[in-house]
């Protein structure tokens, strides 16, 4: 087989787009897990006791320094009874939480000390301090960074194909193997990534400018 077969490209496109739905689902849910868990970790990282902060930081450092692919394959091999897509979303979310927690931490550190002191002066409970004063200011600043991590995660979702989640690359690979048309399948999958991620990153850039970075 030589050259680029346009018919094969036409055949594979619907399959790739069907896989794209799964890819998108994994990205959205994964980002949600990363956003919530990252926030929890960042808040836990400011706990008064070292018995909390040191282990939390160590675990996050470990997760951040080790390959996502190994974490995914390891988790899928260990929890054999759980559905691959669920494992994928959770592992993606935890892996990225190791990054987003640092982003939140920077955002929380960026809230002026006077705000904390004002909360004390008003004798707000710790809960109210976080909910009404600190987090609204911190989260606003970190939104563009979180968005960029979502885009990064989107581009790493093909890893899920390895644990047999039937997302875009899985479909492309299967079509490629069945029809010996890897060229068309992978080219189209790559283009879909480009078409989806580039405008989103432009949007994030705009958001960054608007929030004054």
């Amino acid at each position: 087989m030589n050259g680029f077969d346009w018919n094969a490209a036409g055949d594979v496109l619907p399959l790739v787009l069907r896989g794209f739905e799964v890819t998108l689902l994994a990205t959205v849910l994964g980002t949600l897990v990363a956003a919530v868990l990252g926030l929890a970790v960042a808040v836990a990282g400011r706990a008064p006791s070292r018995f909390v902060t040191v282990p939390v930081r160590a675990v996050m450092e470990f997760i951040r320094s080790t390959p996502l692919l190994v974490q995914l394959v390891g988790a899928a091999a260990f929890f054999t009874s759980v559905e691959p897509l669920t494992i994928g979303i959770v592992v993606l979310g935890i892996h990225y939480a190791a990054y987003t927690s640092e982003v939140y931490r920077a955002g929380i550190d960026g809230v002026p000390k006077g705000q904390w002191e004002a909360c004390r002066a008003l004798s707000l409970s710790p809960r109210r301090t976080w909910q009404a004063v600190v987090l609204p200011q911190a989260v606003r600043k970190v939104l563009p960074a979180l968005g960029n991590y979502a885009i990064s995660m989107f581009k790493e979702t093909p890893f899920l194909a390895v644990i047999t989640v039937q997302e875009m690359v899985f479909e492309a690979r299967r079509y490629g193997a069945d029809h010996f048309a890897y060229t068309e399948a992978f080219t189209l999958a790559g283009l879909v990534f480009l078409v989806a991620s580039y405008p989103t990153s432009l949007l994030m850039r705009k958001l960054e400018k608007r929030l004054g970075h």
């Binding site: 087989m1 030589n2 050259g3 680029f4 450092e61 470990f62 951040r64 320094s65 080790t66 390959p67 996502l68 692919l69 190994v70 974490q71 394959v73 390891g74 091999a77 260990f78 190791a98 990054y99 640092e102 982003v103 931490r105 920077a106 960074a145 960029n148 991590y149 885009i151 990064s152 989107f154 581009k155 790493e156 093909p158 890893f159 390895v162 690359v169 690979r173 490629g176 010996f180 890897y182 060229t183 399948a185 992978f186 080219t187 999958a189 790559g190 283009l191 990534f193 480009l194 991620s197 580039y198 989103t200 990153s201 432009l202 994030m204 850039r205």
Partner: protein, 246 residues
């Protein structure tokens, strides 16, 4: 538990060769990425629109299409399309180099732009040629700024090397997976594998900290005593690893 480790010690030669493949891919891939970072990064600050445009398109293309796809494209799609076939390891090196080179070029561009304007002007006033300006004045200062984000990219690249397993390049992951299949000790095997990557990542971070120290010392900047052992800052990674246009 002991089964896995006795299998491990019985298979040290394979383990060593797997580690060697992973290290080769990391080192060669990052060298290619470094080269491309400078080429694309310097192109991005060129006064000529066409040169800047080419750099922009190349960078957005390699950042926008997933690394995974690029690797598979080189391995599966390129041979039938062009007739050339790369070894799996070389596929990895090229894909890692192109992808991280695109991210790295943004680091180079940003670092050069962050050197104060007055430094450019002083170099012009001293009648230095453009090449001298870059080599003697701008780059030494920009280089110090580049090292921390480069460290992040290097670790990211290391973390992508298990992808070699998927294109049958007998890397570290492949070897450990074989041992797992033989002994059936899933948890031990994967935790060991993660630990090895963690040690590798930490070792690379230390090396890069050493490099940063030397670069800072050359500029006469203070180097803190604890700076060598610190881990990398994850927040830098936002600027360098996060997707798309910036």
């Amino acid at each position: 538990m002991s089964d896995f480790f006795s299998a491990l010690s019985d298979n040290l030669p394979q383990l060593r060769s797997g580690l060697w493949v992973t290290l080769q891919a990391t080192v060669l891939g990052s060298l290619l990425a470094l080269l491309l970072s400078f080429v694309l990064g310097l192109m991005a600050i060129s006064p000529m629109l066409a040169v800047r445009g080419v750099s922009r398109v190349v960078v957005e293309f390699f950042r926008g299409t997933s690394l995974y796809i690029q690797l598979f494209w080189l391995y599966y799609a390129m041979p039938p399309l062009t007739g050339y076939e790369l070894t799996p390891l070389l596929c990895g090196v090229v894909a890692f180099g192109l992808n991280y080179g695109a991210y790295g070029s943004e680091v180079v561009r940003g670092a050069i732009n962050s050197v104060p304007r007055a430094q450019h002007e002083a170099a012009v006033a001293l009648n230095l040629t453009p090449v001298q300006r870059m080599r003697k004045v701008i780059l030494p200062q920009a280089w110090v700024q580049m090292i921390p984000p480069f460290t992040n990219l290097l670790i990211q690249l290391l973390k992508c090397t298990p992808l070699l397993w998927l294109i049958s390049a007998a890397d570290l992951m492949t070897v450990i997976q074989q041992l797992r299949d033989r002994t059936g000790e899933t948890l031990t095997a994967y935790l060991t594998l993660l630990a090895v990557y963690f040690v590798l990542a930490y070792a690379l971070t230390l090396l890069m900290n050493l490099l940063e120290r030397t670069a800072k010392r050359r500029l006469g900047l203070p180097t803190g005593a604890g700076s060598l052992l610190r881990t990398r800052s994850a927040v830098d990674a936002v600027a360098t690893t996060a997707g798309g246009a910036r």
